[in-house]
């Protein structure tokens, strides 16, 4: 599904340019649950920004279902994001002035769906993440774990091909972390949703199927869990 070849990324220009990613080659198949691990500054977030169509300024090739993403324009990127990826962030990134239902429905709104259809879909995904009664609440009135569930609901509301999770348990306590990881596993196994997760927590990473380790912008190792 995802096929990245010789991806390089620089921050800055000319002499002062900082080389973040060096010749990254990475393939991810449908239905995989991949963890990307590395120290801060290793380039793991930069890598998933490229994978998740957030960053369109990189060198190298990126084929997504054989489509040459590296040739796409910025306008095409936003459509691609809307229809193919769901994002789950460390600090949830919910819009505090909107209700939970409006937050979850946001990607569908930008996809051009009708209010009625959105309402029904939002209700379904909120039930799926275990928050059936939260739809009219404001995000700041929920606990961290609940906010992360809302964020996951928003990520899966468009039925994306894959989820990008950037330190999804980084701001949560261990009990809540376990619940969130259980939810990810359920999504991966039941719905066959591909999940790409960045973490620096070994325990969390071990719950996935495959671990890619990155150091200084280079892939250090790429192994199946338990192998």
């Amino acid at each position: 599904m995802i096929d990245i070849k010789k991806a390089n990324k620089f921050y800055g220009q000319g002499e002062a340019a900082f080389h973040v990613l060096h010749d990254i080659d990475l393939s991810i198949a449908e239905g995989e649950f991949v963890s990307i691990m590395g120290q801060s500054g290793s380039g793991k977030s930069t890598l998933i920004n490229i994978i998740g169509f957030l960053d369109d300024e990189f060198k190298g090739e990126y084929f997504y279902y054989k489509h040459p993403i590296h040739k796409y324009t910025r306008a095409q990127f936003s459509k691609l994001r809307n229809q193919n990826v769901g994002f789950v962030f460390q600090n949830f990134k919910l819009i505090n002035t909107l209700t939970v239902a409006d937050n979850v429905g946001l990607p569908l709104l930008y996809a051009g769906e009708k209010r009625q259809a959105i309402k029904k879909r939002v209700k379904d995904v909120l039930e799926a993440v275990g928050l059936p009664d939260a739809s009219e609440k404001k995000p700041q009135n929920l606990s961290g774990g609940q906010q992360q569930r809302v964020s996951i609901a928003r990520a899966i509301v468009t039925n994306p091909k894959f989820l990008i999770a950037d330190e999804p348990t980084g701001a949560l306590d261990s009990q809540t972390s376990r619940e969130i990881m259980a939810l990810f596993k359920k999504l991966n196994q039941k719905n066959r949703t591909t999940i790409i997760m960045v973490t620096h927590d070994e325990k969390v990473a071990l719950q996935s199927e495959r671990i890619v380790r990155i150091l200084d912008g280079r892939i250090l190792s790429d192994k199946k869990v338990g192998a």
Binding site: N49, L54, S78, K79, R81, I95, T97, Y110, A111, R115
Partner: protein, 393 residues
């Protein structure tokens, strides 16, 4: 994303901070209100002038030409039946009717009281006399008017002067325009009135003196005629050909020129106030821009989230642009209503009505949207151009 949803999104964002949104609007409200007020008043005075200058298509317009004798004791009243005939034949194209304006108060006429000729002041009584108090004899009744009774009342002053007592005056005869009236009572002149010598029943008097002359004529024009110009023409015709041109002058009071004076004042005021309103709108626009910039930087996270879940740069830009336009358009509509109200209030003290037209509404709507677009564009562009990676990092 559907446009209606974008509108809803923008509306929601404005409602998050109602006080700030309202304060931002005030400049627009004041600017638009000032412009609408002055335009409504200007329209009002223009409509009034048009009415004075030109008979409307729906109705006929009338004006008056008066005669002012050089010597107040002159016998001629200024207009004769011949004058009217002449006017009728010479101006038949524009006039539908010409008549003497019948005075009903303070008519100066030569009369015979007893056998003595004198010039006296006569007022006419419509129906029964209620204005003057009767000291001797009896009053003019409604029936006197109805059956054209030739009766008259004499002032107490005149009675004392001519007859010595009030009682002596009763039954004497008064001759006006060859008709003889019998004096049936004596009245006491109210202090606030002119020196009236005789009171006659109006219907009797008008009936008997089948108007062969008068000091004022009433002109009724055909539809669409330029009343002011036509009246002036007739007045100058009378100056040359009128029966009493040597003893006095014929004057036409031009209401139109009076009003066009007011109109000039209002149109210069319009420029002045429009200039001030323009400055007010400009400053208000800068205020909107400032607030939008603050809003964009405050909501950087929101913009990042929207972009991440698939908003295009275009829809982000539209959202912020719509917010700015909504602010200014609401301000504009509010200003329109306030301006309308203000103009209506001011016109209570003026001799014309304030007129608010559809074009005034469109002006308010157009100008306020324009301010929104002009001053909302840069902040909206800034919002749309934000770097997603930088926001989410």
């Amino acid at each position: 994303m559907l446009f209606i949803e974008l509108l809803k999104t923008s509306w929601q964002s404005l409602r998050v901070n109602p006080k700030r949104s309202f304060l931002t609007m005030i400049g627009i409200v004041i600017g638009i209100a000032a412009v609408i007020t002055i335009i409504a008043l200007g329209n009002g005075v223009k409509a009034k002038i048009l009415k004075e200058l030109q008979a409307t298509n729906s109705g006929k317009q009338t004006t008056e030409i008066s005669y002012y004798p050089n010597d107040s004791t002159a016998g001629s009243q200024g207009f004769s039946e011949d004058d009217l005939m002449q006017i009728r034949s010479d101006f038949s194209a524009s006039l539908s009717d010409v008549q003497f304006k019948r005075d009903t108060k303070n008519i100066n006429k030569p009369v015979f009281l007893g056998n003595e000729s004198r010039t006296a002041t006569i007022s006419l009584v419509k129906g029964a006399n209620q204005h003057y108090t009767i000291t001797t004899g009896h009053n003019i009744a409604k029936s006197d008017n109805e059956v054209n009774n030739q009766v008259a009342l004499l002032s107490k002053k005149m009675a004392m002067k001519e007859y010595g007592t009030e009682e002596n005056a009763l039954g004497s005869s008064l001759t006006v325009s060859d008709k003889t009236y019998q004096i049936i009572g004596v009245f006491n002149k109210p202090t606030d009135n002119y020196n009236v010598d005789f009171l006659l029943p109006q219907k009797t008097y008008l009936y008997s003196t089948a108007a062969q002359n008068g000091s004022t004529i009433k002109l009724t024009f055909n539809k669409g005629v330029k009343v002011s110009a036509a009246s002036k023409k007739i007045a100058s015709f009378l100056k040359k050909n009128g029966s009493s041109k040597k003893e006095g002058t014929y004057e036409y009071t031009d209401m139109g020129s009076l009003l066009s004076g007011i109109s000039k004042v209002i149109s210069s005021l319009t420029y002045f106030i429009s200039a001030i309103a323009g400055i007010s709108l400009f400053i208000a626009g800068i205020g909107v821009m400032n607030m939008m910039y603050i809003s964009v930087s405050e909501r950087t996270q929101e913009i990042g989230i929207r972009l991440a879940v698939g908003a295009s740069a275009r829809s982000i830009m539209l959202q912020f642009l719509l917010e700015a336009i909504m602010l200014t358009v609401f301000g504009g509509l509010l200003g329109f209503l306030i301006g309308w109200g203000t103009a209506a209030l001011i016109s209570l003290a003026l001799p014309f009505k304030a007129i608010v037209t559809v074009s005034s509404f469109l002006l308010a709507f157009g100008v306020s949207s324009l301010v929104g677009i002009v001053f909302g564009l840069l902040p909206a562009k800034q919002a749309a151009d934000k770097n997603l990676i930088d926001i989410l990092r």
